[in-house]
Symmetry: C2
Subunit: 436 residues, 2 copies
Amino acid sequence: MNGYRDLRVALLGCGSVGAQVARLLLEQGDELAARVGARLHLTGIAVRDLDAPRDVDLPRELFTTDAEQLVLGADIVVELMGGIETARELILRALESGADVVTANKALIAEHGPELADAAEQVGAQLSYEAAVAGAIPIIRPLRESLAGDHITRVLGIVNGSTNYILDRMDRFGDSAEDAMRVASELGYLEADPTLDVEGYDAAQKATILASIAFHTVVPVDAVYREGISGVTSAQIEAARHAGYVIKLLAIAERLTAADGTTGVSARVYPALISRDHPLAAVHGGKNAVFVEAEAAGELMFYGAGAGGVETASAVLGDLVSAARRHVIGGPGIPGSSHADLCVLPIGEVSTSYQIMLEVRDLPGVLAEIAGLLAEHGVSAASVEQTVADGAEGTATLVIGTHISREADLAATVDALRGSAVVTAVTSVLRLEGGA
Amino acid sequence: MNGYRDLRVALLGCGSVGAQVARLLLEQGDELAARVGARLHLTGIAVRDLDAPRDVDLPRELFTTDAEQLVLGADIVVELMGGIETARELILRALESGADVVTANKALIAEHGPELADAAEQVGAQLSYEAAVAGAIPIIRPLRESLAGDHITRVLGIVNGSTNYILDRMDRFGDSAEDAMRVASELGYLEADPTLDVEGYDAAQKATILASIAFHTVVPVDAVYREGISGVTSAQIEAARHAGYVIKLLAIAERLTAADGTTGVSARVYPALISRDHPLAAVHGGKNAVFVEAEAAGELMFYGAGAGGVETASAVLGDLVSAARRHVIGGPGIPGSSHADLCVLPIGEVSTSYQIMLEVRDLPGVLAEIAGLLAEHGVSAASVEQTVADGAEGTATLVIGTHISREADLAATVDALRGSAVVTAVTSVLRLEGGA
């Protein structure tokens, strides 16, 4: 890993996201260097209190209270301190010095995004904020880049995990609004002051950002129409279910034609009915998703974790690597896609669980014989079900679910089953995917 | 729109995707110029037969049979001709001349991706192929860029729409495999030779590409383990349903540790059981989706149209704009995110349908009075349902579903309802989103 140049990365803030970003930068230094073509050198972490407790153990010498000094020496500044005014000043200072900036600060981008974007443009620096909307989910980059040649017509987002959790409990478990709020609060889904989430202020900030990017225009946060979920009742949830709907708090950005013929943008947040067949209806618990309608691409959905320190850190690091690669472009050592050089393992090395269907002779002792045969090959049965015999007379159908097994062991087991005197046919072997 | 420099774009092929790319380039020239900061000048379209019928009317003078000549004068080459050998040679020639290349050719990338990536890297050109996997869905860019700082552990993709359509019909409508195949074929979901889809060859090419990108390594297409859906029976679908599963043809790329401790990659395609609660289980019909598991980001899913001329053209144009922006970077006139300058419209201009719940006096003529009141304000009822009165004695609950109405009209209607002598309370007004 020698021969790489260093890129100096300054981190502002060390809360739940910042601490994870620092950890990943330190732990994955070599791998990130190979991906970037330069070493991401964490020069320091600006904090207010050097002795505050952190989520992650980090070398003490990294911490400083002098954020301005830290920013001035950096190639890339990662702002995760939150708040508006100080963060804005530090980011402007970083951009003016030519540094690229990565931030997860949705309040700041919603309020001052255009000013910061202009400042970045003037010096040719890059400002990116993937983590500001929908946490780990890549949505800013797809809207800005993948759909850059398309016309987006509408964006519907479940972008606040707390309120989705509350509405999902009311819908799926029949909780009252109060009970759902209490559980959400106990699980740490809600802030000490829940108003930001519950009254839709958080979602409105994200609606501003989504609308601005989707429609290449400036949408001030106070132009977003906003209703929260505090008025949603169990009776509404029930009536919605009865009519085939579910209630979700949606952040909506839409291209519209007004009554007078003006084309414009609507940005709004409110609890709305959506059909249970709609992909957004299947977004449960604290998950987020953004549903995008575009003229050419049609309907797209992006789904995942909308919050969480390590999840959000993934989005921050993606932006950071992207900014860093830009510094390397033009120089030598741009890494190809195949620097890892891993071997490709044969199917026999794969482990999953299986569902095996057999026709067996309907005799005493058959189950024991088959269980023994599985055990012999290191395959463990999680369930065995005998279904009504509908095959040849004197036979029964067995459906066996296995615990996670190695494919090679399973293949040997299936061969043995085929050779067994009590088995008349192996009718189906299917793998189970998507589990843990 | 003066003052932009020209970027010369050469298009190879004019099938269903190529014709849409050409159309969008010509129709949206001004808007694309504003987004890119340079004009995307379509210099020509290379075809084999100048007189073949096309999906779209295009100026005849654009067509040429001399692909080599066209490539040599281009800044960006868009390869949509398909096939392997000629496409490979033309792309290599384009890259060697320093042009960026955009392609949707999955067979070519699966077979020769590493060679082409090396050729691009040597001259600092860009090779992109978002449209090669899952059509319109942004998946290549999120894997390569958004998740560049994360460790992907597993990718599960429904990446072949034809087989998903067949399995979905068998599961949801109880079709036999033969019937589902016939319908898929009649609807044009299957090629004349359905083997590529049905036996999983198409999905295996996509598994190769996904595994290579997710794990930064080279995964040859013949190292992908492959089973198609031709052996899937109605009995298996039934047994799966009974156990809470659904059968999907999955392309899987996974980081694994072999029995001997080697870390490697598995790439495989087979019909597998997944839980009905899994987000992939809700991917119906011909849709595609890619589910990604990463160490930091957790679970992500990308959902949308996996095929179609105009849908795939969206992904091609995204790559094209991205490549073009790279040519402009460093020069003046990099466009900000807010060149469109649209006005933000107030909530009154929004049109959706509504669900209104009312408590009304349980008297003859009430329904007529309320229907009249709606009509007066230009709001048309799609459904009215009277539920059992559970409020005050002598009252009934009405649930009214409206056709699409303007918010301003609806607000006036709700005011009028509140003022009506027959209405004792308006208990709920909810908007319906996600419809047409």
